[in-house]
């Protein structure tokens, strides 16, 4: 059982080591693809086991919780690991076409797999300090990937990204120290009960500290600046994996900590989250409306969409959490895909700045189809995945008479449509300003396959979630039930409590 939990962390690390040692040859990229495939296999097995047996926990080093480090997977963790693996497979294939040999020699594949390892570790650990460690693994790997290539705007974006994320990291570390000082434990399941004995006033303050630290990671208002400052600068595979996964780790951490540990004064903490959710949605989507570069638009939309997920957490009803979980999964697939598509647009049309490209609809209809699916899913058009995600959250808000927040969520959806059609109208419909006709056939057949297969795969997934949402909704329901009643989680980690 414990190996089932350990494997999703071990596999990408082993892949990273092997890919680094073979970085001078093309073997490295195939090792990366193979490693991602094994990770996918491991995470499917993990998911199956969690579906069958409920929450599972493994004590690393064989030391009983709460003394050693516990890895634990409930449905949320399992699905996050699974979706991470899916993105990893997609991006590692895409990288064959997107990442040049210079970047490979500098260890792109190693950094990429370490990033995946950090993300998976963050999703699967049941120990707060260990969560910090995985955050750092992820963070430092993202630093490296962000500036790999060394173009000046990457450095500029990198400075802002690094500076603000370091502040968040240090806040998180400080918070862990303080929480340990109050409870004497680091195990998250143990914390869930240990916080009851702590000074509740102090606990609320520390909760806010964690909220801010995770808020930076999740890129919520008013802490998101690093994201639009940097996400449009690195290689496309990198920004795809960032866009899909990194902020979600912050959302995951919020979701985990604010259902498991910090649920003592939800009237206060979750009201703050509600405000944050509303402001994040609005500010993010307006930010997107102001942009004219495909990747910048998409970056601001990440911010806006994070607001939806926080909304689910803030409302804290079963349906709202269902919506948040559904949104989380849907958004990773869709957003990573849109960045991958932007990469293709860059390659064949010569950029991502909307005023300088065009004509993709006419001469690259396949790409147009592949764009329409995630773009209109993001905008919440049925029957694509994003519609159900939004539907669940709006319904959850209306169910608790949250008229204003429901109105905001809907209006933001409209502005999302606006941005997506802006990309569509300018990059796809409008003729190319230089009169060229961008064609997919201008790519080598290897590059074409490497880029389009992952895009098509993710698009198919989006459609499947949209057309057959029932299993996903059921899953999200089960997952929300586990989050709202953490008894099973705590029992799995600590055993039966007296």
């Amino acid at each position: 059982m414990s190996w089932l939990l350990a494997l999703p962390i071990v596999v990408p690390f082993l892949t990273a080591v092997l890919a680094f040692l073979t970085r001078q040859s093309p073997l490295g990229r195939w090792i990366s693809v193979a490693g991602s495939a094994v990770l996918l296999f491991a995470s499917i097995t993990l998911m199956n086991t969690v579906l069958r047996d409920g929450v599972i926990a493994g004590q690393m080093g064989g030391w009983a919780a709460p003394f050693g480090i516990t890895l634990v997977a409930d449905l949320l963790s399992a699905v996050m690991v699974l979706i991470t693996a899916i993105v990893a497979v997609a991006v590692s294939i895409y990288a064959i076409a997107d990442v040049d040999e210079g970047m490979e020699r500098l260890g792109y594949h190693a950094l990429f797999n370490m990033l995946i390892a950090g993300v998976v570790g963050a999703f699967i650990t049941g120990d707060l300090f260990n969560l910090y460690v995985w955050f750092e693994v992820m963070l430092i790997a993202s630093f490296g990937l962000l500036v790999l290539g060394g173009r000046p705007e990457q450095i500029d974006g990198g400075v802002k990204y690094v500076a603000l994320n370091l502040v968040s990291t240090i806040m998180f570390l400080t918070g862990i120290g303080l929480l340990y000082g109050m409870t004497g434990t680091l195990n998250m399941a143990d914390l869930a009960t240990a916080v009851d004995d702590a000074d509740q006033r102090l606990l609320t303050i520390v909760a806010v500290l964690f909220m801010i630290a995770f808020g930076v990671k999740a890129a919520v208002f008013p802490l998101f600046f690093w994201l639009p400052a940097s996400y449009h600068t690195p290689a496309f595979s990198v920004s795809a994996v960032f866009a899909g996964l990194l902020t979600k780790v912050g959302v995951y951490a919020l979701l985990r900590m604010f259902t498991l540990v910090f649920d003592h004064d939800t009237a206060f903490t979750h009201t703050i989250l509600l405000w944050v959710a509303g402001l994040t949605m609005v500010v993010g989507v307006l930010g997107a409306a102001a942009q004219s570069d495909m990747r910048k638009i998409l970056s601001f939309h990440i911010v806006s969409q994070i607001g939806y997920m926080i909304l689910g957490l803030a409302l804290l009803t079963p349906l709202a959490i269902v919506g948040a979980v559904f949104y989380l999964v849907h958004h990773i697939v869709v957003k990573a895909n849109l960045f991958l598509i932007a990469g293709v647009a860059q390659r064949i049309a010569g950029g991502t700045e909307l005023s300088r490209i065009g004509g993709l609809y006419k001469s690259a209809p396949l790409l147009a189809v592949l764009f329409v699916v995630p773009a209109f899913s993001l905008a919440g058009f049925p029957p694509l995945s994003g519609f159900w995600a939004k539907f669940l959250l709006v319904k959850a808000a209306l169910d608790v008479q949250g008229w204003i927040i429901a109105g905001i969520a809907l209006a933001v959806g409209l502005l999302t449509i606006y941005s997506m059609t802006k990309i569509w109208a300018q990059a796809f419909w409008e003729p190319h300003p230089d009169g060229i006709e961008p064609k997919l056939s201008s790519l080598s057949s290897r590059d074409r396959a490497a880029m389009l297969i992952p895009i098509a795969g993710l698009a198919v997934l989006t459609v499947i979630i949209g057309v057959m949402p029932e299993p996903f909704v059921q899953f999200a329901e089960a997952s929300a039930a586990q989050l709202l009643d953490p008894t099973a989680y705590i029992t799995a980690v600590l055993g039966e409590q007296p």
Binding site: F129, V133, E136, L139, I140, F143, G144, V147, G150, P152, E153, Q154, I155, D156, G157, G158, V159, K160, V162, A163, L166, V167, T169, I170, L173, T174, I176, G177, L178, Y180, G181, P228, A229, S230, H232, T233, A290, Q291, S292, D293
Partner: protein, 120 residues
């Protein structure tokens, strides 16, 4: 005595924040070093302070014979120091790189990723 060092932490954090806000990457680095140290010290102080009793088990004994210092925060701080060093090393190289590429150490003047004309 935890009180004393809690105040020390506060002063370090204040100085660090001010330095980080100074719009100069070198001062930012100074602030970063200070605030990392402050965070480590926070963990250490949170685990309570014990003077003169390292958490070692003497030969022949199965457990420490006296009340020794709390070992767990020490291990955490050790990990945090090393991680902090890793982050710092990258940050200083990045600052160096920013200087050689952008020829500036004032981050507010770095407008390549978010150019001003695009926002007008």
């Amino acid at each position: 005595m935890e009180f004393l060092f809690a105040i020390t932490v506060g002063v370090m954090v204040s100085a660090a924040v001010y330095l980080m806000l100074s719009n100069n990457l070198l001062r930012f680095i100074f602030g970063l070093v200070l605030i990392s140290n402050a965070a480590n010290l926070t963990i250490f102080v949170s685990g309570r302070l014990t003077d003169g009793a390292p958490p070692l088990i003497p030969e022949g004994a199965d457990a420490p014979l006296v009340d020794v210092a709390n070992a767990l925060p020490q291990a955490l701080v050790l990990t945090a120091i090393v991680i902090g060093f890793g982050l710092f090393a990258f940050a200083i190289v990045l600052v160096f790189r920013a200087w050689t590429t952008l020829n500036s150490l004032t981050p507010d003047d770095m407008r390549l990723a978010e150019p001003e004309e695009a926002q007008k």
